[in-house]
Amino acid sequence: MAEVQTNDHNDSGKKNKQKKQTLRVDFTPMVDMNMLLITFFMFCTTLLKPQTMRLSMPTKDKVEEEEQNKARQSSAITLLIGGDDKLYYYEGMPEAAYENPDFLREIPYKKKGGEENEENIRTYLIKRNNGTYQKIEELKFQLADEKITEKEFTEKSIEIQDEAMKKLKIAPTVIIKPTELASYKNLVDVIDEMLICHIGAYTILDLSDGDRYLLYKKTSKGEYLSDAQRAAGIK
């Protein structure tokens, strides 16, 4: 392979008879060096490019914002992110049901296994956002079969979300309210569920006093509060 054979075929064999020479180049040092370089690259570089998640927070301009929130809240799902990886939700306005203990429900992040129809946040959101979810999932299949391009997919899915939001008014608005005990992971997990369930409208807001009251009632159940629960429930 690395041999260059220089055979001069001189049939006459009289004059300039050259010695048969094999020119072998030893590649071992080259391999050594390459291996070193590869090791260097493997240790000092990364193949993974970090992924990002887009997040838009509401502006701090207070003009009429409170009013808007109230209007939207009547048909909204509010998710309260508590400590210890707990998640609670209620539908509509909290003022409507201060006396109803089942108003605020706890819901797990993911299925713990076991029961078939156990509800978790994903199944619940998909159920609530079913029309949009089905349509976008169909689009996803088309994308996988390469019937549509990536660009078309994004445009169409935004279109579907907008339509469900504005014309049909079937898409739920999700209000995410993390408590002081929530971790960053909890927040990202919840936003992730919004992406998975194709929820177009979601926003992150601060807890209201009503939410604190509901959480307090839910977590205390009339018993003595732990410090963690007290912090989650009341200021």
């Binding site: 392979m1 690395a2 072998r24 030893d26 590649f27 071992t28 080259m30 391999v31 390459n34 291996m35 370089l37 590869i38 690259f41 493997m42 000092c44 570089t45 990364t46 193949l47 993974l48 490019k49 970090p50 992924q51 990002t52 998640m53 887009r54 997040l55 838009s56 927070m57 509401p58 502006t59 701090k60 992110i81 993911k110 993390p178 408590t179 002081e180 005990l181 929530a182 971790s183 960053y184 992971k185 909890n186 927040l187 990202v188 997990d189 936003i191 992730d192 992406l195 998975i196």
Partner: protein, 235 residues
Amino acid sequence: MAKVKVKKQSTFIDMTAMSDVTVLLLTFFMLTSTFIQKEPITVNTPASVSEIKIPETNILTVLVDDKGKIFLGLDNPQDRVATLKAVGEDYGYDFTAAQINNFKYLATFGVPIISMAGFLDKTTEEQDKYLLDLDNNRVGIPTDSVEVKDALGVISKDNEFKRWVSHAKKACADRQQALVESGVIKDDEVQPLQIAIKADQTTDYPVIKKVMDDLRDMRENRYLLITNLRTASSE
């Protein structure tokens, strides 16, 4: 007794094929990977399904560790220097050419402006050692709002973090404006500085909220949250 004649055998192994393989591997690593950036703290980012890649240029990374220490990373050295000068001016600090040159090589920085000059005089090893002591309040960019009188005697409530961000934003815009004027890039190629938040998944929500609130005060409402890709194993 007849001697056993050992046949002379060549032990030469042809390394050409091996060399080919290593060169191929090396090329692959060089083309696909990116260098790991040196960061003062290691953060374990949460996982998400979002597959948006982080933009390569014009990005300001806000690195938040689980105790709320903030470090900033700016990708363009030119912007970095301009930002340092502007923030130094705000607080009445001047930096020598050597200090500025040192700052040019700091991809991620996080020292209060008071200790910045001293920090930049250190060697790289000393800087690393200094940053290791995370309990030191001279590490991390301060986010407490202390009223500061600037050079013109105007009292401002902006904390250092806000100043760094707003000056970085301005430096990035100015640099691109200059490029537009000299005809290097077109008007529509100008990208505003995007803010990426890179936080550890165990970080408490109030810490993140504080960062976001500060950014929202400056009407920065869109962020990129840096996440890992969620794989089946991490489900």
